[in-house]
């Protein structure tokens, strides 16, 4: 728990309210710098590669992918789970910490929510493409149709997944947008340029900052926060049931839902750290994203990393303890040893061991170390999903159908394309949207000042005593 009264102010540098608005809006007013243009160009190239891959997938079919009858789920599902995991942090961050009234979230929640929206958009692409005939996508909506009406199977986790992800995307996007409304009003009222005033004026929905609005606004955010917290846990649990209800060794376990949820929050928080280090370094926001903010994220990562390590160990232990020959085969001959052992050990090293470096205060103060470790965690989380999806399928019950799996250029293309989509989205977010919730920053500016006053009083007292 982060208590401002003990750990001091959340915003450094004795800023005035005007200064806070000016600092956060500055990147919107400036022309985009060269690195931004270069990165945006690169992300568009990646998107173009992705578009080509999607074109091939749709017009030629899933046959362009490396998946086959044995390994029916390949990169598409790995990447889907990976992106959804990253997409969990925004909501976990802003909503859990909102409900727990953790004020240090204010500098970070906007970026985390932006990340969520783009990551979930990237994730949603994979199951849609994996359907094969994407033009029949609308079959999944339960509507009175001319096919009976034949309804969808409401008992299938795959359908639950569709419902959960659609709901999650809508809810996180609207939560994000409504959070921005007061800040758009700030931009509107500060803007001197007429076009900018008009555009942000439309986006601000006529916000004025009256008590009438603030009262409902606060109620709205607590109501949405309270119910969406359930969603954070349920969405990835449902993704986990996609696996857990099958009778494939390595998937058919009750640990899956909590294990997936924790894994999702782990990769999401790692991505938040990556993003906050970039924002702090490039936009020089060290007064807002202080060492203490990053320190708090690093502490959470250590904790979650321990849970991940425990989960990995539990899975292996239970496989052995169950004395089920298929489970034992999958874990001991297919994961720990065998042709996919690299993925297993990469997962252990990246997720359970390397984050333990955060126990050292030196590393929690070093931006480069934090950036590197957070990227390593997300690579590790990708290997985890590879490990779960492919190793269980490649060598299943029938040795005659054992096979290998390798992605094709199209599969890689779709993944690269979604990375391009994510980067492009984040760059546009940097340029056009205030990166931090300005109104919330203003409300926590003096959060630590009572403590400061008390310290000063105590100093004066002790000097008097001397």
């Amino acid at each position: 728990m982060y208590k401002e009264a003990i750990r001091g102010p959340l915003i450094l540098g004795n800023k005035s309210f005007r200064q806070i608005s000016a600092d956060i809006i500055a990147p919107i007013d400036k022309r985009p710098p060269l690195w931004w243009k270069a990165a945006f160009g690169l992300s568009l190239l990646m998107l173009a590669y992705g578009a080509w891959a999607i074109y091939r997938t749709i017009f030629l079919g899933i046959g362009t992918w490396g998946v086959n009858n044995t390994v029916g789920w390949g990169w598409a599902i790995i990447n889907f789970v990976w992106w959804i995991g990253i997409g969990h942090a925004g909501t976990a961050f802003s909503i859990f910490l909102l409900v727990l009234r953790q004020k240090w979230r204010t500098s970070i929640n906007r970026a985390a929510e932006a990340m969520t929206v783009f990551a979930v958009m990237a994730a949603a692409l994979f199951p849609a493409l994996h359907m094969g005939r994407i033009w029949n996508f609308f079959f999944i909506f339960p509507y009175p149709n001319t096919r009976g009406p034949l309804w969808v199977n409401f008992n299938s986790p795959l359908f639950w997944d569709f419902v959960a992800i659609t709901a999650y995307l809508l809810i996180s996007a609207s939560f994000w947008y409504y959070g921005m409304v007061p800040d758009f009003a700030t931009i509107r009222d500060r803007a001197k340029n007429k076009i900018k005033k008009a555009v942000y004026g439309v986006l601000a929905f006529g916000w004025t900052g009256s008590t009438r609005e603030w009262l409902r606004y606060e109620n709205l955010s607590y109501v949405l926060g309270g119910i969406a917290a359930v969603l954070v846990v349920s969405v990835h649990s449902i993704v986990a049931t996609d696996f857990a209800v099958s009778v494939i060794p390595g998937w058919h376990t009750t640990i899956f839902p909590p294990y997936f949820v924790v894994g999702a929050i782990f990769s999401g928080f790692a991505m938040v750290m990556t993003l906050m280090v970039i924002i702090r370094k490039i936009y020089k926001f060290q007064d807002y994203v202080t060492d203490k903010h990053l320190d708090a994220i690093a502490r959470i990562l250590i904790f979650i990393s321990l849970i991940m390590g425990t989960s990995y160990a539990t899975e292996v232990f239970v496989a052995w303890y169950s004395n089920n020959e298929y489970e034992i085969f999958t874990f001991f001959h297919n994961r720990i040893t065998g042709e996919y052992k690299f993925m297993f050990w990469a997962m252990i090293v990246c997720n359970a061991l390397i984050p333990q470096l955060f126990w050292s205060k030196k590393i929690r103060r070093n931006l480069w170390a934090m950036f590197t470790i957070s990227v390593i965690i997300n690579i590790g989380m990708w290997y985890e999903r590879f490990n779960i999806v492919v190793t269980s399928l490649a060598n299943d019950y029938l040795p005659s159908s054992w096979t290998n799996y390798a992605p094709t250029v199209e599969e890689i293309g779709v993944f690269v394309g979604t990375i391009g989509l994510f980067i492009a989205g984040i760059l546009l977010f940097f340029k056009y949207i205030p990166m931090m919730a300005i109104s919330e920053l203003k409300s926590v500016r003096d959060a630590g000042s009572k403590f400061k006053k008390r310290i000063e009083e105590m100093k004066i007292k002790s000097e008097d005593e001397l």
Binding site: S16, F17, R18, S21, P142, G148, P149, L150, W151, N153, F154, N155, W160, V163, A164, T166, A167, L170, I171, S174, F175, Y178, P182, A185, T186, R188, D189, R190, G201, V202, F205, G206, W207, T208, G209, S210, T211, R212, E213, W214, L215, R216, Y217, E218, N219, L220, Y222, V223, L224, I227, A228, V230, L231, S234, V235, I238, S439, E440, K442, S443
Partner: protein
């Protein structure tokens, strides 16, 4: 129709809160307060209350019933399908969709209610007494009829930077 208002501008939350107290003690009605971030004293000062949470609960209740009824209708009454002899009315597995969809209904309903009650919707023109209220000023507005020497003195004593008359 435009009305005249008395508009006072403060530069800190502390001054605003003191002014609210002083004005309230003298039984003068505050019309509206504009702040850059939510100030609870201001919300209480204007006397605003909200039944928002009850509305959200109501949406949830209705949503949950509607979704469960829909699932029951489609899977049991309209077209029951036999999945390996499992019961058509699979209540436990309906719960998941019910929870997620109920959350979606609460969210959409709450956003709609918020738009209606707070009058925040696309295309609305912002009418505010002072544009700086979204940046760094705290603005307290009174009805023109409540204007008096006493009110102005109270505001000045509590650190009002400006007192203007405006038509809105």
């Amino acid at each position: 129709m435009k009305n005249k208002h008395i508009v006072s501008v403060f530069d800190s939350e502390e001054n605003l809160v003191n002014a609210i107290k002083a004005v309230k003690e003298n039984q003068i009605n505050i019309e509206e307060i504009y702040t850059p971030y939510p100030v609870h004293e201001a919300i209480h000062g204007v006397g605003k209350k909200s039944r928002f949470t009850w509305v959200a609960f109501f949406f949830g209740l209705i949503g949950a019933i509607v979704v469960l009824a829909f699932l029951y209708y489609t899977s049991v009454i309209d077209w029951p399908l036999n999945f390996g002899g499992k019961p058509s009315s699979a209540f436990p597995s309906f719960i998941i969709i019910t929870i997620v969809t109920t959350i979606l209904i609460i969210t959409l309903g709450s956003l709609f209610t918020f738009s209606v009650r707070a009058k925040i919707y696309p295309g609305k023109e912002a009418v505010m007494p002072d544009e700086r209220a979204t940046d760094d000023k705290f603005v307290m507005m009174f009805h023109y009829e409540d204007d008096s020497e006493q009110l102005r003195n109270l505001l000045h004593e509590n650190g009002a930077e400006e007192i203007n008359e405006k038509e809105l």
